[in-house]
């Protein structure tokens, strides 16, 4: 089972006819050379952000979540915003590696490994937040149905518990998917490296993979199955995250559009983040011929499509608020757009819906500097989308006497910064230690890589093509 269906004449996936040896060399180069000055600067910035986040985390754990700006009625704020934001970032990776695989989109090979790694690190980052939001993270074991001295079990009908299952399954499956993709590449690196230490590490990690066709056959099938189960999984994860809100009875949260709206938003924000990082990475690691402008253009098209889906959801929420005749619903949406947090609403709308419209123009889609600016705006806009959903729905409660504004504290901001530091530290370490493009998949889509003859074993010693 493989990517053999060719529907349209495509632009070559790898620019300038590259030999297999060159592919090995180009992709393995970052793992074989000393880090450049640029990498060190980026790494130090990430580490600094991570340390600030670490201090904020220490405060949070030691003094409790009273260190955050959360109050009544805004009991959910940065913690949940960051959780939803980072989980969403992860979704692009699975979309690229699983859904585009099922759709036979060969162009995915150039960016799949990298996007999958981003998924894993984003889910790791996201996972921190709900756990620290419980207030006593060292008791997180109670989140899973383990026998305990109280004899009581978790509530299986709570969306918060569904989250626990969805996020942990998502992480595990993404990690396995990424891991089996790495095995053949690690085998290539094992046979390529000259360093004894590296060879030992790669040998162990590649588990003695030999590129044997009897293994490839099962490997390809396993990859297809994983892609098949990851596809509904990725859709389920953000749907379940949206249930955290939709299952409650709060106006602004209690809507049936939430699951598809969240999934579209997740893919939108994920592609925004993948593009942001990819534009820098392909330049720094000299992979412009493997991660081409064509890739970026295709991703911009997806951004345009998902951005409009998100825009449709914004509009539909307003429409339903009017059409339902529910005064609470109407109040909350008018308050969103024109109330005290109107600035955040308009940041969201302009970054997610208005600016991405520029991608209708081919010149802009293929212009790297403009793409860079737009995708950063997408990241900002999607973070504010979660801010708008959570904070503006909560700060005007049913009871006007308990209305309150939300102001983040330094600890909140430190944790937000720290989450970026955590994510980018892992990402930078990944970039220098593992092949950031799948070597075996790229080789398989190079022109002339696949045989033009398709013989069967013939006992007469004859073969037919």
């Amino acid at each position: 089972m493989s990517l053999d269906a060719t529907y349209t004449k495509e632009i070559p996936l790898v620019e300038s006819r590259t030999s297999f040896k060159d592919i090995d060399h180009d992709i393995a180069l970052p793992t074989e050379t000393k880090p450049t000055k640029g990498w060190w600067i980026a790494f130090l910035i990430s580490l600094t952000a991570l340390s600030i986040g670490g201090v904020a985390l220490g405060f949070t754990i030691f003094y409790g979540i009273g260190m955050w700006g959360n109050n009544q009625p805004v009991a959910w704020a940065f913690g949940i915003i960051n959780f939803v934001f980072w989980i969403g970032i992860g979704h692009a990776g699975t979309l690229i590696s699983a859904i585009l695989y099922l759709f036979r989109q060969k162009w995915r090979t150039g960016i799949a490994r990298f996007a999958e790694a981003m998924t894993i690190f984003a889910v790791m980052t996201a996972g921190i937040f709900p756990i620290i939001h419980t207030g006593r993270p060292w008791l997180a074991g109670y989140l899973i149905p383990l026998p305990n001295m109280n004899g009581v079990w978790v509530n299986f009908y709570s969306p918060l518990l569904w989250d626990v299952f969805a996020v942990s399954t998502y992480f595990t499956i993404s990690f396995l998917f990424w891991g089996i993709g790495l095995i053949p590449d690690l085998a290539t690196l094992r046979d390529k490296t000259t360093s004894r230490v590296k060879k030992t590490i790669y040998s162990v990690l590649s588990l003695g993979w030999t590129n044997s066709n009897r293994n490839w056959s099962n490997y390809e099938r396993a990859y297809l199955i994983l892609a098949g189960i990851s596809t509904p999984l990725v859709l389920s994860v953000h749907s379940i995250v949206s249930f955290d809100f939709a299952v409650s009875v709060l106006p602004g949260w209690h809507t049936t559009i939430f699951p598809p709206y969240f999934v579209a938003g997740a893919i939108f924000s994920g592609f925004g983040m993948v593009s942001t990082v990819l534009i820098i990475v392909r330049k720094v690691f000299n992979l412009q011929h493997i991660i081409t402008v064509n890739h970026l253009e295709t991703m911009n098209k997806i951004l345009l499509a998902t951005g409009m889906m998100v825009g449709y959801a914004y509009g539909m929420e307003f429409f339903i608020a009017w059409y339902s005749g529910n005064t609470f619903e109407q109040f909350i949406f008018i308050n969103r757009a024109f109330g005290p947090y109107a600035w955040s609403y308009w940041i969201m709308v302009s970054c997610n819906v208005i600016f991405p419209q520029l991608f209708w123009f081919k010149k802009i889609r293929r212009s790297i500097p403009i793409t860079m600016v737009l995708v950063i705006l997408v990241n900002v806009g999607m973070w504010f989308e979660r801010f708008v959903i959570i904070v503006t729905s909560l700060h005007r409660d049913f009871l006007p006497s308990s209305w309150a504004m939300f102001t983040p504290t330094l600890t909140d901001l430190g944790l937000l910064l720290g989450s970026f530091g955590f994510f980018f530290t892992f990402l930078l370490l990944f970039l220098k230690s593992l092949p950031l493009v799948s070597i075996s998949e790229i080789k398989a889509v190079v022109e002339g890589a696949q045989p033009t003859v398709h013989p069967h074993p013939n006992t007469n010693g004859q073969h037919h093509g």
């Binding site: 297999f20 299952f165 085998a187 046979d191 993979w209 066709n213 080789k443 045989p451 074993p457």
Partner: protein
């Protein structure tokens, strides 16, 4: 000294076990230049009836399974079986936990409801299916990890993991005849043929389980894990703020010192001239004669009051007086033995006298006015009366009890 060690390591490095080859042939390996050549060669070799052969390509090659005459991969069965197992396990878990083992009413909903159980059932299906697929692929179908495969660490392997296409016919194949294999390779345009020999370590049958280093590593890991978890759970997580489960709090415990108050006592005296509710001072303190004369039992002898009296008696009196008032309490050798409550003197006492002793104390017995409320003291008196009667029961009492 350091140089010596480095040399020693280098020496060890160059003669690592797994690189040493025996003179037993594993098979003949041929290298090909193009995808078409290798595909045709594979069909040729399969057509000649060889069984123990394999093709090695840097990436999965389309149509190779057909060329080699391989059956379709079976890993899907593993995924399916484990996926279904995940579904079933999740449903059984939720049914058992939420409606059998600990039924919990949540919002008046049924203990088990299928719609609400779908998300976890789905996630569990995917989780088990995914893990089984990957483990099945690695362990069952690829027989990995196999770090000591004879092919690893060969020139052949470093070519097929990079840019060439290889074909190996194993020497243990029934049809293996050296000349014919070589002829086949040259006919199919192989540009290079290599002999692959087994490693010496491949030929020694030994189980790592009985290697002392392996056992030591397992025991060492277990010990370290045990010590680290013990220290973490009992000292780091249990004693340290904020992991101490809130048993250490910023409050002042009874009878503890506090520098906050001028008299350094954590406990506060009542405001002068006030009396706490239920703690009216005892008006016959130190006046047993008046008490005996003037006090009468206000608590009626009912089953309830006797049961209350029994409970209080067992808590406050039984340590010295014993559960039945015989004076043989649990503190008998550590504290002066009190007289039996069944002697004639106590039997003859009025209720007020017993009440007075409990309230006021007598000899080494302190006052229990602070610990036992007034009503409870009277209830204890009633219970003591019941004990006295039971200990000395007459035939008539037995008749009545019937």
């Amino acid at each position: 000294m350091l140089k010596k060690i480095i040399n020693k390591v280098k020496e060890f490095d160059t003669v690592r076990d797994e690189d040493r080859r025996s003179n037993k042939l594993y098979g003949k390996a041929a290298l090909y230049n193009t995808p078409n050549e290798i595909t045709l060669a594979a069909a040729e070799v399969a057509g000649k009836g060889y069984k123990n052969f394999d093709v090695y390509t840097p990436y999965p090659m389309h149509g190779m399974d057909d060329a080699m005459g391989m059956p379709p991969p079976k890993i899907g069965y593993v995924s399916f079986i484990f996926g279904i197992t995940g579904t079933g396990l999740a449903l059984l878990m939720m049914i058992w936990m939420s409606s059998i083992n600990y039924p919990n009413i949540i919002g008046g909903k049924p203990f088990f409801g299928l719609p609400g159980a779908i998300p976890i059932t789905f996630e569990s299906t995917v989780l088990l299916c995914g893990i089984a697929t990957v483990l099945g692929l690695i362990i069952l179908f690829s027989k990995m990890p196999k770090l000591n495969s004879p092919l690893n660490n060969t020139e052949f392997m470093s070519r097929v993991t990079s840019d060439k296409f290889g074909l190996v016919i194993q020497a243990d194949d029934e049809k293996y005849i050296e000349d014919e294999v070589l002829k086949l390779f040259s006919e199919t345009k192989a540009f290079e043929v290599q002999d692959i020999y087994y490693r010496e370590s491949n030929l020694i049958q030994k189980t790592p389980l009985f290697d002392w280093r392996f056992t030591a590593a397992i025991i060492g890991t277990a010990l370290i894990t045990a010590v680290v978890s013990y220290v973490t759970l009992n000292y780091v997580l249990y004693e340290t703020v904020p992991f101490n489960w809130m048993w250490k709090q910023g409050r002042i415990d009874a009878q503890s010192r506090s520098d906050f108050f001028p008299n350094k006592s954590g406990m506060r005296d009542p405001v002068t001239g006030t009396v706490a509710r239920g703690f009216m001072p005892y008006e016959y303190a130190g006046m047993p004669d008046s008490a005996v004369k003037l006090l009468s039992n206000p608590v009626a002898v009912t089953k309830k009051s006797i049961e209350r009296g029994q409970e209080r008696f067992n808590i406050y009196c039984s340590p010295c007086h014993g559960y039945f008032g015989d004076g043989d309490g649990r503190l008998r050798d550590q504290f002066p033995k009190p007289p039996s409550l069944h002697n004639q003197k106590v039997k003859n006492w009025s209720d007020g006298n017993i009440f007075h002793v409990i309230t006021n104390g007598q000899n080494v017995m302190p006052s229990y006015a602070e610990q036992v409320s007034k009503e409870d003291r009277w209830a204890i008196v009633n219970y003591i009366r019941a004990l006295q009667r039971a200990k000395d029961a007459s035939e008539e009492d037995l008749e009545k009890a019937k």
